[in-house]
Point group: C5
Chain length 302, copies 5
């Protein structure tokens, strides 16, 4: 637990929250026990709980888990009152960690961020975290384009696995962003009372960014589904090509074997003793092959 | 039929309800005959029927049927008045059974649960039952991850069956949770009159939990559909690989057979009596194989 | 055309309606010509047409057409006024036919159904017809379970046909129920004026049943779509298994044929005259088979 | 351009509209230039533009283009004022052409259609055109049933092409009907001022018909999608059957060839000179075939 | 940065905007810094930001990127006040570039476009840009028809790639148009204050055009998805045909090889020395082929 003070505004950052910290908060602040429980429990839904003296906010933000390369959701709980803000998170959200360090080290930043009241600080924190979603979104977009290029040039199982992983990441990302739109959209009128200033332009800007991320995810979802279909079509088509090739090869080679086998039988055969027996046999083979190819073409198989 | 009394609040628990019990209730309480019928009939939809003196509530909760490993729905009917609560169910809902036993044995619990009025007892019952959905949801999530790992490593029919079962469980689970959201969401203002106390925070917390379960189910539904697609892509791809391998093997071995058959014919053949006849035959074979492989590569089949 | 009278309420049942009957109704009642046309025309949409003296109602109910085992829709037109109810249908709706017979034969039933006014009679008719949908729904559910068991045990074309038929039945059933929900849901306040009594509990109960049927159909729709996917996955998987088996058999038998063909050539061959020539040939065969199997396993094809 | 007058109501029919006609209208009527442009341009969206003295209406109706058997959309533009109606279209809409001819020839019809004011004439025109959609819808339905019968009996490419065409027709049909529902539904209160009479029953009837067509299209859309899935399942299943058959044939015939090839080698072989050598060879063949079949059955491939 | 003045209305066109230009605007106009940032940043969502003295508008319009034949989105930012309009874009939107050139060169056009106030100029700019979407839409439609013709006549991979590209273009196009509908639809009442004139008919016309484009995209989306399905069905069907042909060929040729191999064995065989041995062998071959074909037909495989 670390804290910063500037212009009468306190920012307490708890990373990660444990029972010890929530007990401390329970003593110092008038927070509802259910809310303190929520900061400790497994991932909650984003929400705004409004009380007389403070707001309790829960947000989820995406981050890339390095060890298994999977997009995961990390919870940020915020208590905001007139002269304080308490942020509780597991330390996975780099932009927030960086912002707090910045304010610790640099007096200028401290004044810029905390000096305009708790609501403005909340806006700065959310803005940073929402903006951090954009590089993640762009990485997803870049991966989609890689897959798109790959499936038309190459046929390894890697593409399926990559499509499956991207699909899952997009599903998880959408589940994170979707409930956050409503929460951030309805935040401004509720935090205004702590500042008195009109922050609508600022929070409106953040809502625009969230909407843009949502639009991008929607587009990527449709594109990845289309790519999955395209991949399947390509595989079907390739199987078709291969089977047709096999059929053509079999059609040409089998009759030769058949005629050769017949002439390998240990029984008397016509033209066997002729001087041109080999030529004669080859002519029979060509006739049979030609007949079958003609037949296949008429059936439009090859 | 068993009952508990504490601070003037009576909790009657009927497990399972039969006509005998409903007749008893009809005599003692002013319940509408249609409602008493509903407690006996096959699974009803969740609903709130409001009367002057009491509320009739129907809920459905999920449980895992052990014998066929299938997620099923179990009905809980509740009559709630100012000073009583009547719960009717088939005994499948373990958390409710356990809660009632707890209150029977332990005076402390009895006081804690019944002592704050019938509405609060209703909240405690619902909270327990909704929380019980979470481990079921997590089990579904765990099974999905197992399937995800399996389909990339292994090719047995087991994966299809498992995907099909998970899909069905998720469909059934969603059908149970969906109508319950509306019912639990609109419950608080209607039960307030029995207690007078503001229970909004508590019921709001339960609604949050139901919403979270719904979100999780939505996510799982999309993931399992994606996995089903991925599995199909993998199978298509494997079939493609196998057919291509078969084609390559056939392409290499068939020409050898063909040339060997030709040299097995009982007719005079060129080079037959040469000292290097075998070498000569092998060269022809290599030439034919090479020609076909070159041709296939140009067609981009292999 | 038959009619029943009791307590001043007349029930006219027309089965099936023809122009003769509609002309008779036009003379006796103040019905709008467009409505009388609707009773004769092909299946209409469910609707309520409100007039000063009467309501004109159209409903569609499902029934199983025996001859082609297909779920079809049958129209019921109802004119309801203060002291009369006119039902027009083709006689496909058994519960309605039975109800009318019951009232003809049994004085008790007649009094019970007609004695409480035309609105209550309407409720009883609708309740019977809606309840009749439940066994149809259960039959669909049972058929789905049969298909589910079949596709994992057996591979005949029957399953496809059965899935296709169930899908169609569910589509038709949903189209019948969907518009009826709105009509039945808005019926109670409009018929109240003919009776004066509050029938909200009764019509509410019917709406609950319709909603339950709708929920069930929704669930079945998702399940049958899932089963269709599962079936396709199973077929793909089986094809994959078969092709792999074919490849393995070809891989083992073709090299044997190839070596044997080579030793069948009419040219001098190495070891041909050795005492252990056969053993030697078998060793070559085993070496070639082993090499190809090793190669396939490395490619992860088998 | 032709016109009819009766009871002070003028009906001007322009078929097809060109710039000459729109200039004439611009002189005679107070029509907005944008509206006159719309009557000439390519297919517009259905809409109602309300002005002080007149309404400008655009409708689209479906028709079967004979030359390529495709469902297309044809535009009808209508200007309606107190004492006139101007219809502009390309002459593709047969019921409208026929209605105008009828009024030209037959005094009775003229009086019936124009005698009750411009709003009633509009209703008659729309009613005719909407009713004309029903045979088109029924034709689509009939084609779907044909396809359904075909795919279970036969395997030609024709079925795919037919499913694809029906799907496209249904998509186009839906796009025509969808925006028209809103337009026709909101028409009645706006045209009432030209007549004074209450035409709600009449326009309501037309809305019912449009809704019914929409319901039918929705149902057909789901059915054709189901049929497309069913067709794909059938093809997959047939491929599976064929491949299995090929495997079984190969399994029986290949071992025979192998053993025969071995006994065709030009090296000393066991039992070669026995009296029962042929019987002995056949026994080996049967043993090998039996072994492979036993093996396949255990793997559940056949 | 170029500007035009006429009747007191200034049109400043910045193409492309850089920090230098936004600094200049910041000095001359009362624009909010967040808005000026938005004009420079990567693609924004369409939106209307309303201020006391001006509106800030963002639009996205589609254009075909020549180098990779992909539909892309290009941003247009507009500041509009009582007597000025500032347009900022990257120069990709040809109709806007052309409109500005036209006004620079031609006094008539200048007066026509700028002379009626800033709101009317905005309408003219939007109208041009929206109309420019129509040829793009028609090109997509034309490409769809080409693909539709191709897939029934030809089987190259090109069709998959083309379907995939069209799908992506339609997804991107829809994402561009969708948020623009709301923005353009709500524009008229907000710009009216700058002109005082009622421009509802004009902006309403533009909204109609946007809606029409949306309808077209919706239709194309459904059609291309249908075509993708159709293509897959065709490929499956062709694979089925090819495999069946291969099976039939194998069925006819394999038995011949088998019998010939048997008669090639170096052991005594029946009829070997008969005069009609060849005829006898051929009869056996025909009998075996006939038997297998009969068997396959009974299984309905061929």
């Amino acid at each position: 637990m670390e804290s910063l003070i500037c212009n009468g505004v306190t920012w307490i950052n708890i990373e990660p929250p444990t029972e010890k910290e929530t007990e401390y908060l329970a003593q110092k602040f008038p927070f509802h026990p259910l809310d303190l429980d929520d900061t400790l429990s497994r991932i909650q839904r984003p929400k705004i709980d409004e009380y007389k003296d403070y707001l309790f906010l829960v947000f989820n933000f995406p981050w890339y888990r390095k060890d298994d390369r999977v997009l995961a959701s990390s919870q940020l709980s915020v208590f905001i009152g007139r002269d304080y803000i308490v942020t509780l998170h597991k330390g996975d959200l780099k932009p927030l960690v960086k912002l707090f360090r910045e304010c610790q080290i640099d007096k200028e930043s401290l004044k810029e961020y905390l000096g305009q009241g708790s609501s403005f600080l909340l806006y700065r924190i959310l803005d940073r975290l929402v903006d951090y979603c954009l590089p993640i979104l762009n990485k997803v977009g870049g991966n989609i384009e890689d897959v798109e290029d790959n499936i038309f040039s190459d046929r390894q199982q890697g593409a399926i696995r990559e499509i499956s992983r991207l699909r899952r990441d997009i599903i998880v990302f959408r589940r994170i962003i979707w409930p956050m739109r409503a929460v951030i959209g309805s935040l401004e009128p509720r935090v205004r009372r702590f500042t008195g200033k009109d922050l609508e332009v600022y929070f409106g800007d953040t809502v625009d960014h969230v909407d843009k991320i949502w639009d991008g995810l929607d587009e990527y979802k449709e594109i990845i589904e289309g790519l999955s279909d395209t991949y399947n079509s390509l595989v079907s088509n390739r199987t078709n090509e291969v089977v047709r090739t096999l059929t053509i090869i079999a059609t040409i080679l089998l009759p030769v074997t058949v005629i050769a086998s017949i002439y390998g039988m240990n029984i008397p055969l016509p033209f066997q003793d002729s001087d041109h027996s080999l030529l004669f046999v080859f002519l029979i083979m060509l006739a049979v092959i030609g007949g079958i190819l003609f037949f296949l073409r008429r059936l439009r198989v090859i």
